[in-house]
Symmetry: C4
Subunit: 269 residues, 4 copies
């Protein structure tokens, strides 16, 4: 594992260096300036927390909206989540253009993040993952539902994005703005959207919330699968009113108690 020192490596983003990047063309937008160091630290931790919980493996990514500009977000260069450090983070605009890529490869699916940030001003953080427990709910017609209070954030249901509907046979990737827009449209006002034969996109108003939702979405999917097997399909889910009450009471208290633990473990050598 990375040492704590590597983990805390400062990035150009943190130092505000990106501000100085020359604007060489329309592909390189201006930076919105230095990012809140706390967001950088939390974003790096989020990559590792989600890898440690096996929500992400060698693929998938997490981003945060820039705290100084609603039209910028921060995402890693193309890299396996567990290896991401602050130095790998890049600022993007909502067209998916990097402020200062310096030749580094980019995630082809950065449009998932860009278009969700464009469509949903309330969203400050986005996760895209291929968690194995969730794939079956995108390919069987069985709705993913909250089997316990920790998953109350899906009390309003989880929509399914089938890329085939609007784009025919593709390589399944949300690799341009049009596909990102279609995904964001299917997401609507919900907290997450299943992607048929591919994975999930989860959103939240903070990094701890989007990480917490991703982790408990995975746990809930595992429990629901077991419950449906055990009960031959007859399962009592959380009542929509109950789910709403949990959300009103603060949705697992913002996952703060768990986030403290997760972040501590992510920074261990």
């Amino acid at each position: 594992m990375l040492t704590r020192r590597t983990f805390l490596t400062t990035s150009a983003l943190l130092a505000g260096g990106a501000l100085l990047a020359p604007l060489n063309g329309r592909q390189q937008p201006a930076s919105a300036g230095a990012v809140d160091p706390k967001l950088i630290e939390d974003l790096v931790a989020a990559y590792r927390v989600l890898a440690q919980h096996e929500v992400l493996d060698g693929f998938g990514h997490v981003s945060v909206r820039h705290d100084r500009s609603a039209s910028r977000f921060i995402l890693s260069r193309s890299l396996a989540p567990e290896l991401v450090t602050a130095g790998d983070l890049i600022e993007f605009d909502l067209d998916g253009n990097a402020v200062d890529a310096r030749g580094r490869a980019l995630y082809s699916e950065r449009f998932i993040h860009a278009e969700i940030y464009r469509a949903r001003p309330d969203v400050k953080a986005v996760v895209h993952a291929h968690a194995p427990s969730l794939i079956p709910f995108g390919v069987t017609g069985v709705p993913l539902l909250p089997v316990y209070h920790m998953a109350s954030f899906i009390g309003d249901g989880v929509p399914i994005f089938d890329i085939r509907k609007a784009f025919g046979a593709t390589d399944m990737l949300v690799s341009d703005a049009a596909k990102g827009r279609a995904l964001a449209q299917t997401l609507g006002v919900k907290t997450c959207v299943l992607m048929r034969g591919h994975g999930i996109a989860v959103v939240g108003s903070t990094i701890p919330i989007v990480v917490g939702r991703s982790i408990y979405l995975d746990v809930n999917a595992q429990i629901q699968t077991q419950a449906m097997t055990l009960g031959a399909g007859k399962v009592t889910y959380l009542d929509p009113q109950e789910a709403q009450k949990v959300m009103e009471a603060g949705e697992n208290r913002g996952y703060e108690r768990a986030w403290e633990l997760w972040k501590a473990k992510a920074s261990r050598p």
Copy 2:
């Protein structure tokens, strides 16, 4: 992980310092005095053992009744179980009031513990957990039964607490005395109670017993789920008489053999 030194950090409870806490109002009851150091050590170990066995994750808690007063119990401040040290433990009365909170956040569900201790003089330790294997048995109508001798402590059955019955649509939490009383009433004289769409509460006469029961309840749930799938629902459970004989013979010998191992692993850096 925490070092062994941190793990053994003495607490105010251990030193008896809590005795000196001023009684500033009705929310701050008097302390029953210093707690047996062995109980403190075992309670801290219990938090970590249950986290290592994934019975607890970032949420859930375990408590022990004060050895000097039946009307006091010890529980951590609001903290993820794996991070709990002796310094985080707080003494409570049976109304869920902290003797000396010193501004620290408290678990909102401490009433689970308080009301069970009030209702059950034989209970000396309580666990509240959201173990994924157990949730399905609270939402499917399939009774949790002892599929092997290690789970003989549920030979008399496991009642299910549905918070909706007495309290309507809630945020699912047992966050006041009335809800705690209702839960304790459903528990009755049993060793544990499932909470629909939420989790479990487990009780015991010692910390090793409540930890052992929590761990083997989880294992038994996993085995039962597999057995019901394999046998298309036809499973031979332990005969009630057999379960009783196991209990009479000393219920897995008080889990002492396993507890020695679990505690050793919990104290490793």
Copy 3:
């Protein structure tokens, strides 16, 4: 974990010291002399290998027949498997009497080992475990069968011991010679015997073989459960002739390749 030094601690058995133990009564038989140090080393490793593979947890045990006397075998004192070192090993006769217990607590189920060694001269090592994957096959009437070549040693089937048949309602433990004899009788000439609502006993002609069989029995049970679910019960098992050919070819080559790895990992600090 234990350090390598602790792991190799010499025992009285190894030094032959047990030979000097006074014969104070009929409960203390004479020792057969010092045990082959290689057997001691392998037996200690076996406890840890089986714990690392989760075939054993805080309970269960493994023994080896004494290399100098067919009427003696070596088993740990009552201790969680992962903690066993050479100094914890005790010599027993086939009535389950310890040569030199020195007041140490003994496993109450040592009669599983004693009576199998008595009934089966070909058996040199015995494992008793509660592996979760195996319990369902003892309580559902679904026969455990070899779903792949690594489990060819059950090509002749796995008998099920139901302690209730001969002993009525018990605490489920094989805690005396009569119960041990009944178990050995059900085992017959097979390689293992399921114990209804309890676990398994596995036998072999060497420590690596009994450990390898225990591990692959567990893996085979997991695969078979998945296969039966996937195939709605229709599964093509190894043909008895195929299983026999694997056994004739040397049964996974005595597990030597895997044993080298397992033992190396067991001795890591």
Copy 4:
């Protein structure tokens, strides 16, 4: 675990020393010369990556075709995958003869590799494994299909090799050239072939690709099993056209992003 130093131990193959080995008979073919050091490093990493992902356990193996000669390939001596270092690698010809065995035991199933390399000039790397998730698909008649984009490489289907068809009752091992040829024939132009009651053989044009395919074949099998249970058999798989588009777009980009992570973890002490 092995230290990084051990992990990078140079081998005779790397130094080209094998070139000097005397040709003592028809069992000892000439070497094709020193192997590209990058291939050696990647092959050693592959053994450990597949063990860390539990695709291999104490058995199974992975090989690479020699970069200087299409009629030579590199495979470990008979050894558990997790223990393999560069010094254990041996050069073989396509008849399964070792260039310089120096008395070391060989995998009896090296003919899987030899005959696939002979039949498939496009194949540069081969894995043989007994991954538990895959066995059920070889014994139930349920076809293994791509449930998500990461498994697009099986969009053309996975053939099943039943050794019984051409060879009757055997010990299940592909332990000679005739059996290897039959397996290669069943594989045909596909990316992998299930072996009934035994395991899988996977092929690829690079080591990262054959490792990536092995890992995601295992994940896909687990997801498909869950999806079929959840959906009572009704599952929407990747459309063949979609799978083809993923392959044309570069099949998970050659697994490069994941391979960087996997190799980094494999070289950690």
